[in-house]
């Protein structure tokens, strides 16, 4: 497989874009990435678009082709990919694979979702499509509920407390204050978090990511193209050391243990192997904190934190910017927002900014970064490892 480099990134703010259509958001992010990359549109060989629910929420499909048409791309393959909350990460991986395989020399990955345009009930119903509705749906379970189940098990086994998990919320909301793309950064106290609306015990309002609109995009190219462009690029190159995708169980009963997602564990192992690095080499990670407790679980599944220690590490500040490993310096899904299909590409955008040393909440000397995107009840996962070429 050939080496793959990221030469352009673009992102809208994450939050409410009430007056903008879904394709307009995607086009905005793609155009920013394209212009920054200095790649000629005629040289783009493929476009992958990550999106989850544009059908039920926007009444729009074939979005990949529509976005390509709006920006005047040539008649190249344009494909929408879907893996619920991991749709963006999957689009990124496919673009990387298209370049790595030698099929194309340059490709675009874009992720987009608009969730605030529809009534909340409609959005919730659409999101629940990512559940195994034959096995788990009839109980009346929700996604926050899934993580409520996981939290209780984590607490029972490792002594994780409300205060530990609140440390994740305070960190990510605080990080969000530094990120101009973030939807809801905030300075929160433990008392404010603990007094917030109960959603599904022990999950409370501040433990949940918001619903969001937004888009993010990247341009990936072969080594030969990257070297040719490096004279005109304003930013250092970022190399994709690994872009892995895995599958886990779609249903609760299929998970050996609800305090761990196999799809994440396996994806991380493969990514470390492909990249030739270990967890200790990771300076920062953007991981899938759809709920506060998810960050605890993900950080352990990725091997960044010892099993059972996720809450303790957050509480001790070891996952803050300046800590052992910076987790979600962007604010993560909790503060930056979670426009489902855009999230995975948003994570790549954040890590690339960090590796270029241009991030508004910069991790000092960031050299190697990771992204982690998880869909459904752990049914789809992507993990990427990126290296800044300084």
């Amino acid at each position: 497989m050939r080496d793959v480099y990221i030469v352009g990134i673009g992102s809208t703010t994450f939050g409410r874009h009430a007056d903008e259509s879904i394709e307009s958001l995607a086009v905005g992010a793609v155009v920013d990435a394209l212009i920054e990359s200095t790649v000629d549109r005629g040289d783009i060989g493929a476009l992958y678009l990550g999106n989850f629910i544009s059908g039920p929420l926007n009444g729009k499909e074939v979005l990949a082709g529509i976005v390509a048409d709006r920006i005047g791309l040539p008649n190249v393959p344009c494909t929408k990919v879907e893996g619920a909350c991991a749709s963006g990460g999957i689009a990124f991986r496919h673009a990387c694979m298209a370049v790595a395989s030698g099929e194309v020399n340059a490709a675009i990955a874009v992720g987009v979702e608009t969730m605030t345009h529809a009534p909340t009930k409609q959005t919730t119903a659409a999101l629940n499509c990512a559940m195994d509705n034959e096995n788990d749906g009839p109980s009346g379970l929700t996604f926050p509920g899934l993580f409520g189940l996981a939290w209780r098990m984590h607490a029972d086994r490792f002594g994780t407390t409300r205060e530990h998990v609140s440390a994740v919320v305070r960190k990510n909301k605080g990080n969000g204050l530094h990120n101009p793309l973030a939807q809801m950064g905030a300075e929160l106290s433990d008392a404010t978090i603990a007094d917030s609306l109960p959603i599904c015990d022990p999950i409370q309002l501040y433990d949940c990511c918001p619903t969001s609109d937004g888009a993010a995009a990247v341009v990936v190219v072969s080594k030969a193209v990257a070297e040719k462009l490096s004279a005109t690029l304003k930013h250092p190159l970022v190399q994709v050391l690994a872009a892995v995708q895995t599958r886990g169980s779609p249903s609760i009963g299929g998970h050996a243990d609800l305090i761990s997602f196999d799809a994440t564990v396996v994806a991380a192992q493969r990514a470390y192997e492909l990249a030739g690095v270990s967890a200790q080499d990771i300076d920062l990670v953007e991981l899938h904190d759809c709920f506060s407790i998810a960050e605890v679980i993900d950080s352990e599944d990725l091997g960044l934190v010892p099993r059972g220690q996720g809450g303790y590490w957050a509480h001790e500040g070891r996952t803050a910017v300046g800590g052992d490993v910076a987790i979600n310096a962007s604010g993560g899904l909790l503060a930056k927002g979670h426009p489902v299909g855009a999230t995975g590409l948003g994570q790549v955008f954040e890590v690339v900014s960090q590796l270029r040393h241009t991030h508004p909440n910069q991790v000092q000397n960031a050299r190697i970064g990771m992204t982690h995107n998880l869909g459904g009840a752990g049914v789809a996962c992507t993990v990427s490892i990126l290296r800044g070429v300084q």
Partner: protein
Amino acid sequence: MTMQRCTNCKTTLTAAAVVCVNCLSREFENFDVPTEGHLVSWTTIRRAPAGYSATAPYNVVVVDLAPSIRVTGRLAPESPPPSMGGLVHQVGEENGCRLFVVAGI
């Protein structure tokens, strides 16, 4: 209560199975499963999805009926409060959802 399994290789299958995940056979048979199991975890749903609002708040439970049989269900409204690892009994089924109650002390 019963569940289905593969007639050929006896692999336990969920209600959603189309073929046996082990041998791809389409021949299934029912077998008896215990109605008593251990509570793996639970959560109290206070913000319910469409169709469940009238029932909320309710407890969704994960129960191990046997070493390889983990199911999701709901606690019946009349059930005593749950505790981790505690015994629960299945008392019925409602719209495809198993209903449990916490076993009396």
